[in-house]
Amino acid sequence: MVRKRALCLVQAALLCAACGKGLQSRTSEGSNGPGTVAADPAGPASANTKGSTQMASTEADIATVQGAIAKEIRVSPDDVKVRPLHVSVPGITVFTASVHPAKAGRGVTRTGIVEGGSIYVETEAMSRVARAWGYGARRAVPATTVAQVFGALHNAAAESSPFIDDDTVQTYKSVSGPRRAAAVAMPVEATVDGLPAVVYYLTSSSRGTPFSEVTAIVHPDFQIELRVQPVLED
């Protein structure tokens, strides 16, 4: 169950969870055009250089997510547990959020980004991350970092996990079936149709997203094209 959409209004943003995979993303009002957001040349390593401003921004973004999800599923904002992904993306907070079933009647998971006070999900969110990084012909961040963020954003309503650690890859090989064992690998840079891409593998808590090989292609306007190939054992 992969969903994509971008919305301006915070409370409307999580409507995205309702959209089916393959739906066209909508561009937010006031969205920055390509290249208007400066990439952080230092990439993830600069995560601790922003000081209190970054922390305050992250806290505000967390509150944004809490408010949006709380409104969506009619719980208190305090019931929404938000976990920022510890990766530096200038001006953007990548998050995973969950609500305990004791509060919502069922477990609720949401993933996405907050940028400028608005929430975006899936390929729209990835596109904004790529733009913030300035990712393209210049590989502004390592493939592992791209996979870490894009993998986390794969599904707006379920957590997904890319393989970005070699020990995890090796462990997975030892306990999975032959096809997945043969396939799983660390993220790598690639070029697809002349465009920069990253190939990575991911798993997901979603029933609809089995272990898959994902090729994320970054277009010149930072639009992200995902080619997802499930790897089944039979």
Partner: protein, 488 residues
């Protein structure tokens, strides 16, 4: 005049003497307003004909009149009238009503007037004869049949039902025991949300939600390996139907003692922890590896605390960096003794298990379930979080891989398997997990395993179904497909 069964007194007073119930039904498209001869009858008539004009019955008009009146109970009377018609007439009447009157009829019928096999059959004909575009009315027919609220999910992912989804739900629900559906106090609503794949969820407040999208061909979409291995009973079965049964199963679980069974060895020996507190200690102990027998108590405490941090923060990708930062191994790059210690820690199966144990890694999807510790698999089943462990050897008799996400999923998948048509209830369990089939017969199914998975026409939730009845496939079936089918 032939009597027509269940017509009420109120109906008879309105029916102007009723009408002949002839085989094949009345041609409702040929109405003759005012009675008497129709067009072309001008000319010679006999005296008798003039004296005793026969008012040709017009059920459409009669039911329209009942529904158009302002008197209370018009819908009930109209439904009673409808029930008195033969099958073809019922379909024709519903077809000829205006959308507004179909809606008025559906919404005007009270649940207590829509019980019993006859009413259920009529409701299905009403459903089948209602056009696809009248979603609200279609939902109401379904709601009446199964005594559920039938709506979109209340959150922002909610999507309107459509006829194809409701029809399949109907076919599935009618073959389940009434005690699990209409008479199930733990099941209050059947809802739909928008999704790109066929899926679902169930909530503690009685909601069974089904997700699917316009691109999903729910009539032909069979499970091909996303959740099952080739030999699993649910492989190749209709995804939508199995999902509906699965979600209903969640709402049946607690009421039939599912939690106790799944805690037993026969049910997987599941243990559940709501939260992650203490999980590192449990995992280290279960591993019985070098960490558990670490000679330095302070260091052991630090290792366990480090692993607990990984668990609490849900960051298996940070295991290496966090372990490497422990003070007594921080110089491992230059200190061989520290490197040995670090290798010992990382070589413990507890650490290996944690690398693939989180819910976003779907460990239940692995053929092994993950890294075995003792005789058990430990995993985070949900991200809020919930942790569980189960006996790995119980996977040998699994119905699907997804069954081994959590004890509730174990039961729901078993439920979906038990009521999978065609044939006897639990037929797919035989020879694979006979103990669980026997337990389902005794504790879950009100008919104790009798009755089969295909109700014969006229049954209520399969309570009088015929054992081993031959199913009627409905894949791609038209709206008028016979009820009682629904198998893949």
């Amino acid at each position: 005049m032939v009597g027509y069964g269940r017509a009420t007194a109120a109906l008879e007073t309105r029916s102007m003497g009723g009408y002949e119930r002839t085989p094949g039904g009345t041609n409702l498209g040929q109405t003759t307003p005012g009675g008497g001869a129709g067009p072309g009858a001008v000319g010679k008539q006999t005296l008798t004909e003039q004296v005793t004009p026969q008012a040709k019955p017009d059920p459409v008009k009669e039911i329209t009149d009942l529904l158009s009146g302002h008197a209370a109970g018009g819908a009930a009377a109209a439904f009673d009238r409808l029930k008195a018609l033969d099958e073809a007439q019922q379909t024709s009447v519903i077809t000829h009503l205006s959308p507004a009157l179909r809606g008025k009829l559906a919404h005007g019928i009270q649940k207590n007037a829509a019980t019993g096999d006859t009413a259920h059959e009529v409701l299905r004909r009403c459903f089948d004869a209602t056009p696809t575009g009248e979603v609200d009315t279609l939902c109401r027919w379904t709601a009446l049949r199964f005594d559920l609220a039938v709506t979109s999910t209340s959150d922002s992912s909610g999507a309107p039902w459509d006829k194809r989804g409701l029809r399949r739900c109907w076919d599935v629900l009618q073959m389940l025991p009434a005690a699990h559906v209409a008479d199930n106090k733990d099941l209050k609503s059947l809802t739909r949300y928008r999704s790109g794949s066929v899926e679902g969820w169930a909530s503690d407040d009685g909601e069974a939600a089904i997700g699917y999208g316009s691109s999903n061909n729910i009539d032909t979409l069979n499970e091909t390996g996303d959740f099952t291995d080739a030999k699993d009973p649910l492989r190749g079965k209709n995804m939508f139907d199995a999902t509906v049964r699965h979600e209903i199963g969640h709402r049946v679980d607690a009421g039939v003692g599912g939690p106790a069974y799944t805690a037993s060895d026969n049910g997987g020996g599941w243990k559940t922890w709501d939260g992650s507190h203490g999980m590192a200690e449990r995992i280290v102990t279960a591993s019985g590896g070098k960490i558990s027998s670490w000679s330095d108590a302070t260091e052991k405490k630090a290792i366990v605390a480090c692993l607990q941090g990984v668990i609490d923060d849900r960051v298996p990708n940070e295991i290496n960096t966090r372990l490497a930062a422990l003070s007594f191994v921080a110089k491992h790059a230059t200190d061989a003794a520290q490197q040995t210690k670090l290798d010992d820690i990382k070589g413990d199966h507890a650490v290996s298990a944690l690398r693939v144990a989180f819910s976003h890694q779907a460990p239940w999807d692995l053929p092994t379930g993950g890294v075995k510790l003792g005789d058990r698999i430990f995993q985070e089943s949900y991200d809020w979080p919930q942790w569980v462990s189960y006996k790995q050897d119980s996977r040998a008799k699994k119905f699907s891989r997804y069954q081994f996400r959590a004890p509730g999923e174990w039961f729901a998948e078993a439920y979906a398997t038990y009521y999978q048509p065609p044939g006897d209830k639990g037929a797919l369990m035989k020879g694979l997990d006979d103990t669980t089939k026997t337990w389902f017969d005794a504790h879950v199914d009100p008919q104790h395993g009798a009755g089969g998975t295909t109700p014969k026409s006229g049954t209520k939730n399969g309570t009088t179904a015929t054992s081993g009845a031959t199913p009627t496939p409905t894949s791609g079936a038209p709206a008028s497909a016979p009820k009682g089918a629904g198998g893949p």
